[in-house]
């Protein structure tokens, strides 16, 4: 018997059936409990992050939430599309369709930028080859 098999065998032998049968053994019951902080150390007053360029919020909010992610701020054509999407209520289909379109545009932007980088290296590479050939000839 391998270690993994032994581990599984031992595991299945544990008395698990009905261990949480009593409702007070279930952390999610009631699903919505009386209001109290989620953890004892949860901050009473939430400091707001300072605004960042290229970070949006949905139309329904008057301002940013106190805390937010700052990854990949909006840029380029995909940024324009995403900004337009977030200025449309999320209950509208066009909100989601614009986000999907922006995703595809974003990938295209990345691929074009990558291609441009490669193309920019071509003259440098050609010059290096010509120079090397010339030096070898001399």
């Amino acid at each position: 018997m391998t270690d993994r098999q032994r581990q599984m065998h031992d595991h299945l032998d544990r008395p698990v059936a009905g261990a949480d049968l009593a409702p007070d053994e279930r952390p999610g019951i009631p699903a919505e409990h009386q209001a109290r902080p989620l953890t004892p150390t949860a901050p009473e007053h939430i400091e707001h992050m300072r605004p960042r360029r290229g970070v949006t919020h949905r139309k329904e909010l008057r301002s940013m939430t106190p805390v937010f992610g700052t990854a990949q701020p909006l840029h380029g054509l995909s940024g324009v599309l995403r900004r337009a999407a977030y200025s449309t209520r999320e209950t509208r289909v066009r909100h989601w369709m614009m986000l999907r379109l922006a995703d595809r545009v974003n990938v295209l932007e990345y691929r074009i930028a990558k291609l441009v980088k490669i193309l920019a290296l071509v003259p440098v590479g050609v010059a290096a080859i010509v120079l090397t050939a010339k030096l070898l000839k001399d």
Partner: protein, 380 residues
């Protein structure tokens, strides 16, 4: 730092990115020690989640060591080892204070449908994920739980998501003792839902999938009966027959938006005519007995799906669903792990260094090499 990044559907690479920094007084920066690849990360990989931006780092199941803490953090200090819930929650808003931390209203400026989530597109707040060497963790005094000194990271890693998610799925099924339960999906969440169904007192648990090695794993790991839906013809009729023609009392959908089983729904779902493939929900609604409970924990996105709501209404079903409120389950499930009732670590089939993350994604997505769960080891 090195981090996994998204560059378009089915294209992820490990690249160099700037280190995260403290951006709010209650943030901490973690050096990531273990990071799981979740089934829901595959929806991102496949380009199915709106506003997934090029450069986004995935990863919402991780453990780490605190390397820096904001000035208002009371609960953690440098060197503490923690496991972090995938939800980013303030702990005191209307929803958090009622235990619904998955619905926190202070951490996601981009959508009303969920709280902030690590590494899960900008519709869950635009936070970087934990499939990286370092990650910024907001509300450090709310979400992260210290790992007991006598426990290893891998023993508790899945408290971050899939174990509480599976448990909540079973709990939402309202099992009171003696019920029959069908679980659609033998992925990691499905496996933990099966385990949890036993804990809550189910009398019979039957798992449905179409991948033979996963069905075998479910039989061994969770001690359940299994059905390969591709081998039984009409799966709904087959399942009803297993339960005296009525169907089971409870059905759990642990599949989500990339289900197999209907060519029509696959075409509509993968071409964005609907938000993913709702086959598992429809089978759940059709299979469960009248007045039974359907628990939906598989991930679906807005704006719409072709769901068989008429059948649900006429059968008098109770449909319950939510993203998991992870934080409230962590202490309870830690106790189950410590006391040996749940061996969460046993579902790990593959471990990879961060540099091999794209290979891990490919293996997990293609269900190759008996893969059930991949874990990355960024600090190795």
């Amino acid at each position: 730092m090195r981090a996994l990044s998204y560059f378009g559907p089915n294209k992820v690479k490990v690249v160099r990115k700037p280190d995260p920094r403290i951006e709010h007084s209650n943030d901490v920066i973690l050096e990531v020690t273990r990071s799981g690849i979740c089934g829901s990360d595959l929806h991102l990989l496949h380009g199915l989640v709106p506003d997934t931006r090029v450069g986004c780092t995935f990863g919402h199941e991780f453990t780490g060591t605190v390397v820096e803490a904001g000035h208002s953090v009371k609960n953690l200090r440098r060197g503490d080892r923690v496991v972090v819930p995938f939800n980013i929650s303030c702990g005191t808003c209307f929803y958090c204070s009622r235990g619904l931390s998955a619905n926190c209203e202070n951490t996601n400026p981009n959508s009303d449908v969920a709280s902030g989530v690590f590494g899960y597109s900008h519709i869950t707040g635009g936070y970087e994920g934990g499939q990286a060497q370092y990650v910024r963790v907001p509300f450090a005094d709310v979400g992260p739980m210290k790992i007991p000194d006598d426990m290893e990271e891998e023993e508790v890693l899945f408290l971050s998501d899939i174990l509480p998610t599976g448990y909540q799925a079973a709990e939402m099924g309202e099992i009171k003792g003696g019920e029959t339960v069908v679980v659609f999906g033998c992925g990691p969440v499905g496996l933990f839902a099966m385990k949890s169904a036993w804990l809550l007192g189910a009398a019979r648990v039957l798992a449905v999938d179409h991948v033979d090695y996963r069905l075998e794993f479910a039989r061994r790991y969770a001690g359940v009966e299994t059905v390969n839906f591709k081998k039984v013809g009409d799966v709904v009729a087959y399942l009803k027959d297993q339960f005296e023609g009525r169907g089971p009392d409870v059905v759990i959908d642990a599949v989500g938006m990339e289900a197999e089983g209907s060519k029509l729904h696959r075409v509509l779902g993968m071409s964005f005519m609907q938000a993913g493939v709702p086959v598992a929900i429809n089978w759940a609604i059709q299979t469960v007995r009248k007045a039974g409970n359907v628990s939906i924990i598989g991930v679906y996105g807005p704006p719409w799906n072709l769901v068989d709501i008429g059948t649900a209404m006429n059968k008098g079903l109770t449909l319950r669903m939510n993203q998991c409120n992870v934080r409230r389950y962590m202490p309870h499930l830690l106790k189950h792990i410590r006391e040996g009732r749940i061996d969460a670590k046993a579902i790990i089939t593959h471990r990879f260094p961060l540099e091999k993350a794209p290979k891990a994604y490919s293996l997990f997505s293609d269900k190759k090499d008996g893969c059930v769960k991949c874990v990355l080891t960024p600090a190795a």
